[in-house]
Amino acid sequence: MSCDRIAAAIAAAVSLAGAPALAHHSFSAEFDSNKPVELKGVVAKVEWINPHTWIHIDVKQPDGTVQRWMIEGGTPNTLLRRGLTRESLPVGTEIVVDGYRAKNGTNRANGRDVTFPGGRKLFMGSSGIGAPQDGKDPTEK
């Protein structure tokens, strides 16, 4: 077997093995892939609950009013195990949310990608014991 063929076999095996498992419930049933949202707001409240965490943010509108949005994340257990708690995301912190709006039309979205304004991901680089690393965060080692 040539080196190229071995490499191809490895790549194929790896790609099959790496198929992602899904969340506790269907996100595509809850959120609308046709309604992407980009939200910049400040943390108003963190619901550190199961099955999924909800981060409440206040988003300032062009007319000066404030809209409250709820952002769905994952289980707190994973982060708790890495030493992170809801206090790791204090009220008043400015964050940016890239996600999809809820199908029911309320101000809810999934936290597809939640970052600080500079692009650094939330909950990364704090203690990071065994945290999955995607190479996007420049503070990751």
């Binding site: 076999a9 490895i10 790549a11 194929a12 095996a13 790896v14 099959l16 093995a17 790496g18 992602p20 498992a21 899904l22 969340a23 506790h24 419930h25 269907s26 996100f27 595509s28 049933a29 809850e30 959120f31 609308d32 892939s33 046709n34 992407p36 609950i49 199961n50 099955p51 999924h52 909800w54 769905e72 994340g73 994952g74 289980t75 707190p76 257990n77 994973t78 982060l79 708790l80 195990r81 890239d98 999809y100 809820a102 199908k103 029911n104 999934n110 597809r112 990608d113 939640v114 991901k121 939330l122 909950f123 990364m124 065994g130 945290a131 999955p132 690393q133 995607d134 190479g135 996007k136």
Partner: protein, 324 residues
């Protein structure tokens, strides 16, 4: 004073020797409880990136090569960012949220090319004709019996899976790895072994005192388990499942034989043989490493904030209104 110092020194040396012994791999028999049973206690994780079934492209090989393992682990470390994810697709929405919430693991915990170890092709045996006919009639049942993160519709919460309804992932689904919360705590007392499951919560209390199964009219989501010790292995026989949840098409006729064997100070090998002649054309077996973590378990109070169910059903109502 001198004798006291010697006593302390002897005590410390004995402690160091005991510690060294505890850290060595097992040669011979594993540790025992004070009442003489094999000691399986601890907190464990079964997360793994080893595939459930053998991928077609390994050409039937039972084991990955070292190079393949290294490539898979490297990819697992690097994967998961949102770079390159096509926005606006159902698949992207299903990916849900940032990777820091997930805990799928980044290790090939067994170099086998599949968790399915029997049959030897590493694949789940074909379903029986009866199972295929039942599958076609699933829609007529009063509630969806699937245990994954999905549903058969959105008319009622009963159209959603038992996982989404916070009930169970079924058996042995509850003992198999998923995307996070792959944590288990085993505790023992004379005559009992308890297995606490983090994902969806719940504790299996397994008697090992020789009692038999409850009568067949009693049906449970997790079945009824009785255990026994075969040498250093805990063998658990589980029957009496309910017909309200499916495991790969199997329900009330499912019969499981699980084997827990300590294969080193840091690992238990979990094996489960899955038998149901009304569903599978032959019995099959999974082997999953349970790796000691020494970490705490955390509660997963799924009903506490299952806003997702509300969002799924109310989202469907809004979509109906929007249709002409």
């Amino acid at each position: 004073m001198k004798s006291f110092s010697i006593a302390v020194a002897v005590f410390l040396l004995a402690g160091a020797a005991a510690l060294a012994a505890a850290q060595e791999p097992h040669k011979g028999s594993p540790p025992r409880t004070p009442w003489g049973e094999p000691d399986l206690q601890g907190t464990f994780s079964n997360r793994t990136i080893t595939p459930f079934e053998r991928p077609a492209n390994v050409n039937g090989r039972e084991f990955f090569t070292k190079e393949e393992v290294a490539a898979m682990e490297k990819r697992a470390q690097e994967a998961g960012g949102d770079d390159g994810r096509a926005k606006g697709s159902r698949q992207d929405v299903e990916r849900a949220y940032n990777d820091f919430w997930w805990d799928r693991g980044t290790k090939v915990t067994t170099p086998r090319t599949s968790l399915v170890v029997d049959p030897t092709d590493g694949r789940v045996p074909a379903p029986t004709e009866a199972a295929k006919m039942r599958a076609a009639d699933e829609g007529k049942r009063p509630a969806f019996r699937g245990a994954g993160a999905s549903g058969r519709g959105t008319d009622t919460w009963l159209d959603r899976s038992t996982f989404e309804r916070c009930i169970t992932r079924g058996m042995p689904g509850a003992m198999s790895p998923t995307a996070y919360n792959n944590n288990y705590r085993i505790t023992q007392s004379p005559g009992f072994v308890a297995i606490e499951i983090e994902m969806l919560g719940g504790t299996r209390v397994i008697p090992t005192d020789g009692r038999s199964h409850v009568r067949s009219t009693i049906r449970q989501w997790m079945g009824h388990s009785v255990g026994r010790w075969e040498g250093d292995t805990l063998v658990v026989d589980t029957t009496n499942f309910t017909d309200k949840v499916l495991y790969r098409g199997a329900a009330e006729n499912l019969h499981l034989v699980e084997r827990f064997t300590r294969v080193g100070p840091g690992e238990i090998e979990y094996r489960v043989t899955i038998e149901d002649p009304t569903t599978f054309t032959k019995p099959w077996t999974l082997a999953i490493p349970y790796v000691n973590t020494g970490e705490d378990m955390f509660e997963y109070a799924c009903h506490e904030g299952n806003y997702g169910m509300e969002g799924i059903l109310s989202g469907a109502r809004e979509e109906e209104k929007a249709k002409p």
